[in-house]
Amino acid sequence: MVDSTLVLFGQTLAYTFYAIAMILVVGWVAWRLTKPGKGGGVKPAVFFTFVAFLTVLGVSLHLITLKTIPWVEPDLHRASVQVDRVFEIRVADHEFRLPEARLVVKVGEKVRFVVTSDDLTYGFGVFRPDHTMVFQMQVVPGHTNDVIWQFTKPGLYTIRSTEYSGPKGIHMVVPDAIEVLEAK
């Protein structure tokens, strides 16, 4: 099952390859600029091919992620998605108020986290024990903030505010707040 670790690994590979290629291209152009040319400039066909390439690239990025990242479609149509479990969480005075001391879910269950803020704008992020991010969303006061997630691996997960809410917000961490059990 595709999870955020795999998606980020793919992104790391793609961007690293791109960045190295781009550094080499600019380096090569810089070197060639100091050498005599043949008199002709760049042909318009090359330019228009480049424009077409950028257009395809810009549009295809979103189409690819729409079709390959599993949380995109349910996220865009959240209201109509049937879920297995709902957790309602309140945030106020720089503190998460969880409905239970530990939120227990099973691998593969569709879980809806509904987080509301009584005062400031916060963030709601779920992290693995190695500090990598599973997912996050913003928590805006006066609005319903919900996200649907399916955990792919069992274990304990930490909740942390992912948005700055003043210096007091740096301690908004609830270690091991979510326990994900194997699906039986």
Partner: protein
């Protein structure tokens, strides 16, 4: 000449401030102030880099966040705005071949930027007012965490900068359209239409093409200036709104903060704020690339008509992309996320890609070129945007934003590589190019120092962005503090790269001081006796 003598008189004593016109002096003063504020931003950046490795005992967390609030504002308003506005107030009349509309208004812009920046920086330093530049409602009015008085002074400083920006806007458009004394009547409407791209748009549907009355770099300045106007309006309005709550608090009234919808406010403020990041910066940079490429190569710009059209598209795009900052806001309508946040934002890949290609193609047509300082810094600037823009496009995606938003990825490979490598190296290229023009032929003290500046800044900037990005992919957030060294390996490497940027800046600063001499720097602030309508001194 001894080093001490050179430091006092400048390289070979060539720089003579008395020979400068008031316009040259004013432009150089903008640059000096811009570089001083860049030093502020660099020092603040290094403090934060060290703090991210290990919290510094004598800096408390509220002071750390005050530094984080001031850092981008000093960098953009104090440094970049000063250098860019100063350069454009010189270049627009230079390219239009007529005097600046109002020297007095330009002087006001200079002082408002310089004073406004020190006012908000000082307010943050003293009171630790720290809502960050995003000002997410109702944080700027949270007086349980921040001083209302400190915040009011902070907002006043920002308002002064915005007022200076409005004066810049007026001066640019008036300079393009007005008729100088003794001249034949200028076609103001046609000049404005050409500057804003209306003429170019009409030409697309006409057989007989109308002539462009405004050079391309001036068109870029004009279009970026439209975004400066909108953005100043939004920031001023928001500042007044926040100020109402502060004054209320100081008078003992606790105004209801829920009167303002936090999501609507976020949309409004990001719409205005994004006119800087995804509007005027990209448009001004593209215009500067075109100017640099044509001046360095001595050739006409490759695909000039398309470049003009792309600038117009970029302007429209800049008004409609703000929603990529709200992809993680679940109450934001999905249609805005997809259309504005994803699709329109992807256009920036195209418009910035076109500017990248057109600039390189123009240079390519003039081979062989000497690898001058302005050329190498221009190439560095191009590379910075080539790396930084796609990093931003990646996170402007509904799927990827869910796992990237507010991580170090955003602020490293995207923001810092685009701003520090892309924008700043472009500005350095312009400074190296304009240096002999603005100083009436002063000579650079050391080419070796210029080379160290280039390599230290380029490798430091890209390296810092890369290591911050790696930390972000491992889950490290921006705008928080890690107390247990969770991401130390990346933060140490990023701090070392930040150190390289400091080394580069010190080399550059020393090189410039040695080139013009301390007497020369002080001489900039003495009044010029020459005609203020002249950009350059009369040729003898």
């Amino acid at each position: 000449m001894s080093i001490l003598r050179t430091m006092i008189d400048g390289e070979q004593g060539l720089f003579k401030p008395k020979t400068l016109t008031p316009m040259q002096k004013l432009t150089l003063k903008f640059v000096v102030v811009g570089l001083v504020y860049f030093a502020f931003a660099v020092i603040e950046g290094m403090i934060m880099r060290i703090f991210e490795v290990h919290p510094i005992p004598f800096i408390k967390s509220n002071q750390f966040f005050a530094i984080m609030t001031a850092h981008p504002l000093v960098g953009i308003f104090g440094s970049s705005y000063s250098i860019v506005f100063g350069a454009f107030l010189f270049l627009v009349p230079f390219l239009m071949k007529k005097p600046l509309w109002s020297f007095k208004l330009a002087t006001w812009t200079f002082w408002l930027l310089a004073v406004g920046t020190i006012v908000f920086w000082g307010a943050g330093f003293v009171s630790h007012y720290a809502p960050l530049y995003t000002l997410y409602w109702p944080l700027p009015a949270d007086f349980s965490q921040f001083s209302a008085l400190g915040g009011a002074v902070f907002i006043l400083g920002i308002a002064l900068v915005m007022l200076g920006s409005v004066f810049f806007v007026i001066n640019v458009f008036k300079t393009i359209t007005y008729t100088p004394k003794g001249w034949d009547k200028q076609p103001g409407g046609a000049l404005l239409a050409s500057a804003l791209g209306w003429t170019g748009l009409k030409n697309l549907f006409r057989k007989k093409k109308e002539e462009h009355l405004v050079p391309l770099p001036v068109a870029a300045v004009a279009r970026g200036t439209v975004d400066v106007a909108f953005n100043s309006g939004v920031i001023l309005f928001t500042g007044v709104l926040i100020l109402v709550y502060m004054v209320g608090s100081l008078l003992g009234f606790d105004l209801r903060r829920t009167a303002i919808d936090a999501l609507l406010y976020k949309n409004w403020f990001w719409w205005g704020l994004d006119l800087v990041a995804d509007g005027l910066v990209l448009i001004f940079v593209a215009g500067t690339w075109y100017l640099l490429a044509t001046m360095i190569s001595g050739k006409a710009l490759f695909m000039q008509n398309i470049a003009r059209a792309a600038l117009l598209v970029e302007l429209v795009v800049s008004w409609t992309v703000w929603s990529h900052h709200l992809l993680s806001d679940q109450a934001q309508p999905a249609v805005l996320k997809v259309v504005s946040g994803e699709m329109v934002t992807a256009f920036e890949l195209i418009t910035q890609g076109l500017a990248f290609f057109i600039t390189l193609a123009t240079l390519w047509s003039a081979r062989p070129l000497k690898m001058s300082n302005e050329l190498k810094f221009l190439l560095g600037g191009l590379l910075g945007f080539a790396l930084g823009v796609p990093a931003g496009i990646i996170q402007a995606d509904v799927g990827l934003n869910r796992i990237l938003h507010n991580t170090q990825w955003v602020v490293g490979p995207h923001v810092h590589v685009a701003v520090l490598v892309g924008l700043t190296m472009t500005l350095y290229a312009a400074i190296y190019l304009l240096f002999p023009i603005l100083t009436n032929g002063a000579k650079l003290y050391s080419q070796k120092l210029a080379n160290i500046h280039f390599w230290a800044h380029l490798t430091g900037g890209i390296g810092m962005g890369a290591f911050m990005g790696m930390a972000g992919l491992k889950g490290m957030l921006r705008r928080t503090i890690y107390f247990n060294g969770e991401f130390n390996i990346y933060m140490i490497l990023a701090a070392l790269c930040g150190g390289l940027i400091v080394v580069g800046f010190l080399c550059f600063f020393f090189n410039i001081v040695m080139s013009v001499g301390l007497k020369g720097v002080l001489g900039l602030f003495a009044k010029s006796t020459l005609d203020k309508d002249r950009l350059l001194p009369a040729q003898e």
